[in-house]
């Protein structure tokens, strides 16, 4: 089995994607607060929802990236 090397650039990229997902999840929370006329302290009180949403978004991104990677590899072989 080969050793996997996670480079600093890869870590930075993943951190950046996670951060983007977190920001998007927060934006969704703000939109929900506005849409459903909820108090603004839900920005903090609903942080659990935001974290879960972040992870879901990150997971979705991961699936899309893997799918894209596989697609590109298959396309390259042909």
């Amino acid at each position: 089995m080969k050793d996997s090397i996670i480079t600093a650039a890869m870590k930075r990229r993943e951190m950046l994607i996670l951060l983007v997902c977190f920001v998007v999840a927060n934006v969704v929370n703000w939109c929900a607060i506005v849409k459903f006329e909820r108090p603004w302290w839900e920005i903090f009180s609903q942080i659990g929802y935001v974290v879960v949403t972040t992870l879901i978004l990150y997971g979705l991104m991961l699936i899309l990236r893997i799918a894209w990677h596989l697609f590109m590899r298959l396309a390259g072989k042909k």
Binding site: F36, R38, Y49
Partner: protein
């Protein structure tokens, strides 16, 4: 529940303090009032030791301030049943003799309805402090006579309208009067049972004596035995008295045993502001049991279950929670291609909120009485009044009108008419709010 628990129950929900200004008849429950009678005894005689009399006896046994000194019943087996609990009590088969007994300071009358008026008047005139079971009297005139007698001779007269002493009703009425359900727009009462309302009769000649409830010669049936309690709720919640009454009664199911009181009744009481109060009772179907509901423009209070239902949508979750729900509903819902232009409105499924903790719900099935329905507190208030001689405020007027409107509804059913209470039956009345 004893007085202390009653007050704690009320106090826990913020009733203490305001209770006495809004509910002055509960004064006897206060520690100060209890201190007033410390070490004293209410010497009581009981007239009528049948099922309801025995129910009171079981409550009296738990009251250290009460001494039952005399018992009276003209039906020996009932008298002997009661005598087991109070071996030292004097026994009478004629209530006049009991009233002559100077040791007796107060009397509890738990006899058939047609005897209530006469016995109450005799007892008041004999200088006794009186508790009489509801309804107060057998006819409109007799109820007025009883009221005037009490006015004339003074003294104490309480009628068995125990809901006035039930903490959940007290709390509910406080909420209603504070506007928690908005404007009262309807009062709905029903009492369904599925039994023949009969008592076992040891020999046929005792039929009418024991099953007096079933004969119009002695009883006004469902209106005086059941409705009377619930009609009083309406006036309490509305803070006014009904203006007109209409109704219909029939004997549709238990009609082969010789009874002549209705087994199905439905009455509408209209208040001066147009609000209707309904009462329906059927004793051949018990699915819905007993219900007493005050309907407001912003919510509903079910008095029997002590639940508060708001017409406002239930509090929703956070914005994120609602968003997720909306997405879920969007994904899972069926597509609608066409639909009716109307939809049947079913009753709200909102669970509601209890107005008090540890509420004991009374099903209304028992013909004798139920635990924690206010009866014990009422008798305690009577015992206090026997000792102090103080008439609890406002309750007599409430009881009087509850009886009058129950009797008026019965009359309306018999005459098939819309009736109003004649001016001559009106007494000074201050609403309970």
């Amino acid at each position: 529940m004893n007085r202390k628990e009653f007050l704690a129950d009320c106090g826990a929900k913020g009733l203490a303090g305001v209770a006495l200004s809004l509910f002055p008849w509960l004064e006897s429950c206060t520690p100060k009032a209890q201190q007033e009678i410390k070490g004293e005894k209410a010497r009581i005689g009981i007239i009528g030791t049948g099922s309801r009399g025995l129910f009171h006896i079981k409550n009296l046994l738990q009251m250290p301030e009460v001494e039952v000194v005399a018992l009276c019943d003209d039906y020996r087996p009932h008298l002997e049943d009661a005598a087991q609990y109070f071996p030292k009590a004097k026994l009478y088969d004629d209530y006049h003799r009991l009233l002559e007994d100077s040791e007796v300071k107060g009397v509890i009358i738990a006899t058939p309805l047609y005897l209530h008026g006469r016995m109450t008047i005799d007892a008041l005139e004999a200088g006794k402090r009186v508790f009489c079971e509801k309804s107060m009297a057998f006819t409109l005139d007799e109820a007025l006579e009883v009221y005037k007698c009490r006015e004339r001779v003074g003294g104490v007269l309480l009628i068995g309208q125990q809901r006035l002493f039930d903490p959940k009703y007290v709390k509910a009425m406080q909420m209603i009067h504070e506007g928690k359900i908005g404007k009262v727009v309807g009062v709905r009462n029903y009492w369904y049972r599925n039994n023949d309302w009969r008592r076992e009769v040891p020999s046929p000649e005792l039929e009418r004596r024991i099953n007096w409830r079933l004969y119009s010669e002695y009883s006004r049936g469902l209106m005086t035995e059941l409705a009377c309690h619930q009609l009083q709720n309406g006036s309490w919640a509305m803070g006014m008295l009904p203006e007109k009454v209409m109704g219909s009664g029939s004997l549709i199911h238990w009609n082969k045993d010789g009874r002549d009181v209705y087994d199905t009744v439905c009455a509408i009481f209209t208040y001066p502001n147009g609000v209707n109060m309904t009462f329906e009772s059927i004793i051949s179907n018990k699915h819905f049991g007993m219900g007493e509901q005050i309907l407001g423009s912003e919510g509903t209070i079910d008095l029997v279950t002590a639940m508060h239902y708001t017409d406002e949508p239930a509090p929703k979750g956070s914005g994120m929670h609602q968003l997720v729900e909306q997405i879920e509903n969007g994904l899972m819902s069926n597509s609608v291609f066409a639909g009716t232009s109307w939809a049947t409105e079913t009753s709200a499924l909102a669970p509601g909120l209890p107005i008090m903790q540890n509420v004991k719900v009374v099903s209304g099935e028992s013909s004798v009485g139920a635990e924690a329905d206010g009866s014990k507190e009422l008798i305690e208030a009577f015992a206090h009044a026997v000792i102090t001689g103080k008439q609890p405020d406002k309750v007599l007027e409430e009881s009087y009108y509850a009886t009058q409107f129950a009797l008026l509804a019965d009359k309306a059913m018999k005459e098939g008419a819309i009736l109003t209470l004649d001016e001559k039956y009106k007494i000074p009345y201050e609403p309970l709010k």
